[in-house]
Symmetry: C2
DNA sequence: CAGTTAATTAACCACTCTGGAAAGTACGAG
DNA sequence: CTCGTACTTTCCAGAGTGGTTAATTAACTG
């Protein structure tokens, strides 16, 4: 019954690729066409197209069509599912801070990464 | 800037498997041998052994040897790296991320050793 | 010593994933 | 309708994954 579990698997699998994470980072700054997403990378357009498809199936990216361009936009839900999944390790993560606590504290003071 | 790009890839790849996530959930409750980890699953011991090896390479699990038993323990660092990586999507995630963020920050303020 | 237990390694099989090249699709312009 | 643009899909090779069984290593036990 947990279709949600499969969703998590698809999300983690999608994130387990540096090119796809870079695509997501690019989309965090705004929408982009597949061609624009491909520019920074040293791979062919079909390869990027396939990466986008993987991200789409994981629900991380939404594609809207206008003329012959496909505009890609980041969807937050799967990342929220990851956060939800991680909450079961909250206490464990809290046991021994060294880096994250400082990072998050700096974030609260107003610094941006 | 990524903490350890390859490390993050290995972590996400390790998490992209339901059996391995179940092993982690089991280890969140305490140490266990490979045999104990294998019990709930309908797969052979070698299969679990390989899963543990993947988790080890991702730094999520530490194995200590005592006699003929290998005791497995959860390591928090890679999960913290995931949280750190996710902070770049803070604005997309909104409340759900802020809740985890706040929890970790509050924990730091309250748990002064 | 041989035997048992715990776990890994080896060998193998069936997929799946990622890449490139090439062909196909869809739309707008002329 | 034809051409160019912007992808997507198909096909293929090579690498990797997840599972099996069988063999191997390692440590304790009688």
């Amino acid at each position: 019954m947990p279709v949600r579990g499969d969703q998590l698997t698809a999300t983690f699998a999608a994130l387990a690729d540096p090119t796809r994470r870079a695509i997501l980072a690019r989309l965090a700054h705004g929408e982009a066409t597949v061609g624009q997403l491909a520019e920074p990378f040293d791979v062919t357009l079909p390869a990027i197209s396939k990466h986008v498809k993987v991200l789409q199936k994981a629900g991380l990216v939404e594609q809207t069509r206008q003329a012959q361009w496909r505009s890609c936009r980041l969807r937050p839900e799967p990342l929220r599912d990851v956060v939800t999944w991680m909450t079961q390790y909250r206490e464990f993560l809290g046991e021994s801070f060294d880096r994250l606590d400082r990072y998050l504290t700096d974030l609260q003071k107003g610094d941006r990464p």
